[in-house]
Symmetry: C2
Subunit: 215 residues, 2 copies
DNA sequence: TAGATTGTTAATCGATTAACAATC
DNA sequence: TAGATTGTTAATCGATTAACAATC
């Protein structure tokens, strides 16, 4: 079987992008089990989406499948990682070393594999110059200076809502162009800066209220 | 102005449900600032969605607006809370007291306001019978017995992927019908049990790869 | 060859947007 | 009354599903 290891460039829809990390996790498990090739049907079952969705996603990605056989797992994993930029994680800082911030720093996928978190900031003086999960924590007042010097392009925002806008301002001033925010606040940022808001309680609301399941 | 404090029952779409907690957070801030009434336009700006979306959402919810004036904030907050069941949080357990699990236990919104987490479980004996963030931690082997006795209907799953399916089985055996899972695994559960999977790295993927922003 | 699976097209479904009449 | 805003309808947009021809 001939494998064309070329991923063609296409524009990718948001729902597809959100599924890619899930495909990646499942493909890695399959690979760890010694599997070399996977069909969209098998993957769709393992991931919990429909088969045509997987086909469309891979097609949009330009992934090279082998008709009648399936997709070779290795180039698929490499291709998805490359598309997401996870083969070369971006330099990032985390702001707000509370329990959620510490938890994110402690997750190897987020801290090392998908991002390269090189420093953290907090307003609490007791944390200054300590290490949390192996990351140095600095005074939030130093954020612009330090983050700029470290050439950081991504900011993870895990501060209380009341501090979110000020922290976003500092991140933008430090040259950060992508902010991953765990605050419910809608943040006002300069053009050129994008914000992805992660509202944990939206998932909970969906679970509890979803599909006609009124409590 | 007459306020009809009745929320009519309708079926609500998932994107609407996911926005409700965000509306709630913003409305509470407005109320804390002394505001009594809000227009869909003002709310749409604060939340970061379009104005017709807010109108549609409130309409689906059956929220009572006052033409030419806006929506009274108090009944709106109460109505959304009641719809989500957050006025009377469900009894829940958390499985997997790692850093993410502890962080969720430490968030007052999740632990007390939106859910009522009455116990936690872990496989690590050093944690047995300790308190984490004020919640008692028990041996995961006792889960079925304890969760059943506590009449729990929701499970928060923050264990490693390798332990996720086994934990889901135990939760189902304990009578839990709704599982909020932070594992990438697609979980196999009995019919009658629903799972909401929360994949943190999907949000990150969307931030980094989204809107043509290839790294 | 026969069976399996990709890759693509057309049809369906659902959510968002735009526009505006009704009304406080 | 005049201005503002709700509530709803029609139009648009986008994603999913279904079906199937191409092909290894």
């Amino acid at each position: 079987m001939r494998i064309d290891n070329t991923f063609k460039e296409r524009s990718i829809a948001t729902p597809t992008i959100r599924r890619l990390p899930i495909y990646l996790a499942v493909l890695r498990r399959f690979r760890a089990g010694g599997q070399k090739v996977v069909s969209t049907t098998a993957l769709s079952v393992a991931v919990g989406v429909s088969d045509p969705v997987v086909k469309k996603d891979f097609n949009m990605l330009g992934a090279p499948g082998i008709t009648g056989v399936g997709y070779a797992i290795d180039p698929l994993v490499d291709g998805i990682e490359a598309f997401l930029g996870w083969d070369n994680p971006r330099r990032a800082v985390l702001v707000g070393v509370g329990s959620l911030g510490s938890a994110l720093l402690g997750r190897d996928d987020i801290r090392n594999r998908n991002l390269n978190i090189v420093a953290a900031f907090d307003a609490d003086p007791r944390l200054f110059d300590t290490m949390v999960q192996g990351v140095a924590v600095y005074d939030a007042d130093m954020m612009v200076e330090i983050a700029r010097r470290l050439c950081v392009s991504v900011g993870v925002l895990t501060v209380p809502d009341s501090a979110a806008q000020a922290a976003a301002n500092q991140l933008a001033a430090a040259g950060v162009t992508k902010i991953w925010s765990f605050s419910t606040m809608s943040l006002d940022v300069p053009s050129g800066v994008t914000v992805k808001r992660e509202v944990l309680s939206s998932g909970l609301a969906e679970l509890l209220a979803g599909t006609g399941n009124r409590a």
